[in-house]
């Protein structure tokens, strides 16, 4: 079959997926006008939820679709935050700095990619973590950061609290939507197909002419920028930058939990995982350490007994994956 013939055989989007997309668009419209009637607390919580969804979607892009299990994405959360602090200090208004800071983190990710992407699974995981630690130590040397004490983005206090809350909420909503749409477009395009081929069998992918390094690099850099944007948005709502918090490995644990529990390598799984994680945090968050210990145990149980997460449960019943990134071809020839 020629390429055109194959394309002609790709089935249109299943009805189930179309319904999900329409519901999602309706939900986004509701969320866009929600701040008009919701309390400040609800707006803050939702902002945090959007940020969690972004983290989950970006980590899934890395681990689920490109097979790059990073334990060091906090490097970009921290770096983006640090770049934002520095840019605001240099006189840039804080809101553009959210995005420019994240782009700066993306440049570092691009440089790092030449090095870390040459490593194998376990080595890659832990080396990315060590690099995050090394960057944290270096950032702590900056007198502006004052070591572990950290610093606050006081320029944000110039805005009225209501206005600031609303802006960050809307920015998070729009960024999240764009990010999910971007991931959708990326995965439906050439890069997505290549990445899935690499994840499933790297040697075979290489033998059919896929430049594995370039594909991995593209995804690594994009996912790192995405992670950094989520991080700077979080920083904008938290205001205080502390190296130990921003560069903390707990971010990786969160991302891993959300993606794993939702369903790694599925499009909708991480979003479900983020919702579940958010709900758990709301209900059990007051238990502090015991809650986090529970998160760890749930992660182990999912990894061992339900490695495909909630979406896996759905698939086990013989139903089609909602919003699958695999293209379905019609049977007739």
């Amino acid at each position: 079959m020629t390429k055109a013939q194959i394309v002609a055989h790709i089935l249109p989007m299943p009805a189930q997926d179309r319904r999900i997309l329409i519901a999602a668009l309706a939900l986004l419209a509701v969320l866009a006008v929600l701040p008009l009637m919701a309390s400040a607390l609800v707006v803050d919580k939702l902002t945090y939820l959007f940020i969690l969804i972004m983290f989950a979607a970006m980590w899934n892009l890395l681990a689920g679709y490109a097979g790059l299990v990073s334990v060091g994405q906090q490097a970009f959360i921290g770096l983006g935050g640090y770049a934002m602090v520095r840019m605001v200090e240099a006189g840039l208004p804080p809101f553009p700095a959210i995005f420019l800071g994240a782009l700066a983190a993306g440049v570092v990710a691009w440089i790092m990619s030449w090095f870390v992407l040459r490593m194998k699974a376990g080595e890659f995981a832990i080396a990315t973590w060590v690099i995050a630690e090394a960057i944290r130590s270096m950032v702590s040397f900056d007198p502006l950061i004052q070591g572990e004490t950290g610093t606050s983005i006081t320029a944000l206090n110039a805005y009225a609290p209501e206005m600031r809350r609303l802006t960050i909420y809307l920015l998070s909503l729009v960024t999240m939507t764009l990010m999910i749409w971007g991931a959708w477009a990326l995965l439906h395009g050439r890069t997505g197909a290549q990445a899935q081929a690499i994840r499933d069998d790297e040697e075979a992918a290489e033998s059919v002419g896929i430049t594995t390094f370039a594909v991995k690099q593209r995804i690594y850099v994009l996912a790192s920028i995405g992670c950094a944007v989520a991080g700077t948005l979080w920083l904008a709502s938290a205001i205080t930058f502390q190296p130990r918090t921003s560069f903390g490995v707990q971010w990786s644990v969160f991302m891993l939990f959300m993606v794993l529990v939702g369903g790694i390598g599925t499009f909708i799984g991480p979003i479900l995982g983020a919702l579940l994680f958010f709900a758990l945090q709301e209900i059990f968050g007051d238990f502090g350490a015991w809650y986090m210990a529970g998160v760890g145990i749930v992660a182990i149980l999912f990894a061992l007994y339900l490695p495909n997460g909630i979406v896996g449960l759905w698939l086990n019943k013989g139903r089609a994956e909602p919003l699958s990134m695999r293209k379905l071809l019609s049977q007739d020839r």
Binding site: A63, G67, V69, V71, W114, F115, R118, M119, A121, G122, E123, A125, I126, A127, W129, V130, I131, E133, A134, S137, M138, S140, F141, G147, T211, F213, A214, V249, Q250, S252, V253, L256, F257, L260, I264, G288, A289, W290, Y291, M292, A293, G294, V295, G296, I297, V298, A299, I300, A303, L304, P307
Partner: protein, 308 residues
């Protein structure tokens, strides 16, 4: 300067013990236990509980803790890791990260966040020192710890090279199918290796509790040190691990001369440099050596894309 070197070498013994378990698991079971540092902290916490809670002598506490940790390693291999290893490369990473989070926060819940130390229970050992010619003082505790480290690593080396169990371990690490054809039960070997690895982690944790303080959240940092020592020294040999531990100890101790914050960063930098050298020389070999690589880097970056 000379004192910093001596201190760095002695510190290296502790790092080598910490790293040996990680290296053993990686070499034999082919898997990186990301909760290895947390196991070390757990060992320290158990020993501390024996001393503070049960009022036992430190030596007895250590004698009880190590077999307990070994048993725990055996159990974890049997209950968790064996199953995780069947799931490809992703599941072990996810499982051990979850295990780390559970251990850290569980220990925090049980023992609280106060930093704890065995230093108060070992008499004047924590501050006594020997003077060697040249006016250099060597702390007795670091000295004894270094000696213990050498003895323990030596004992593990003898176990691996001179006993039937050791032969089975090495055979499984080289070719587990061929080992099975020789009657070796890989699961038994893996459980044994995990027991040794976790007991070694426990010993390293006890060392840490003697020379400094432990907190429930110290594990990730210890894992990083262990991994750095393993990579610097080269995976799969105990001698390499000892050299890697000493190199890391030296880097940190010399780095601390510049500024206290620089200590850890110096260790990270040595690690990254060694890793970069390994990766680049591997990649360079594929492209006709260093000179060709540099030429390619400078003149035609596109040549670097693709095959590594």
């Amino acid at each position: 300067m000379l004192e910093a070197i001596v201190q760095g070498v002695l510190l290296g013994g502790y790092y080598a013990v910490l790293a040996a378990g990680l290296s053993l698991m990686f070499g034999v079971v082919r898997f990186i236990n990301l909760a290895h540092g947390d196991m070390a902290v757990l060992g320290a916490m158990i020993a501390l509980w024996f001393v503070q809670g049960a009022g036992l002598h430190v030596a007895i506490a250590i004698a009880l803790t190590l077999p307990l940790m070994g048993a725990l390693g055996w159990l974890m291999q049997r209950m968790i890791f064996e199953r995780a290893l069947r799931g490809g490369f992703l599941i072990p990473i996810l499982t051990t990260i979850g295990l780390g989070a559970a251990l850290q926060n569980g220990m925090f819940g049980l023992f609280g966040s106060d930093t704890k130390s065995l230093g108060a229970y070992i008499g004047n050992l924590s501050w006594a020192s020997w003077e060697i010619p040249g006016g250099i003082f060597i702390g007795q505790l670091p000295g004894y710890m270094f000696l213990t480290a050498i003895l323990v690593l030596g004992a593990v080396h003898v176990l691996l090279t001179r006993t039937a169990f050791g032969r089975a371990v090495r055979a499984t690490a080289t070719d587990s199918e061929a080992a099975a054809l020789c009657g070796v039960d890989a699961r038994r070997v893996h459980r044994g290796a995990a027991a040794i690895a976790v007991a070694l982690a426990g010993l390293a944790g006890i060392f840490l509790a003697m020379r400094a303080q432990v907190t429930p959240f110290a594990g990730p940092m210890l894992l990083i040190f262990a991994f750095e020592a393993v990579v610097i020294g080269g995976i799969g040999s105990l001698r390499g691990t000892l050299i890697g531990g000493i190199a890391l100890g030296l880097a940190q101790s010399l780095g601390a001369m510049i500024s206290p914050q620089f200590s850890l960063l110096a260790g990270h930098c040595v690690f990254l440099a060694v890793l970069a050298y390994r990766l680049m020389s591997g990649a360079a070999a594929g492209r006709g050596g260093w000179r060709a690589t540099i030429t390619a880097l400078v003149f035609h970056k596109s040549m670097l894309r693709g095959k590594s």
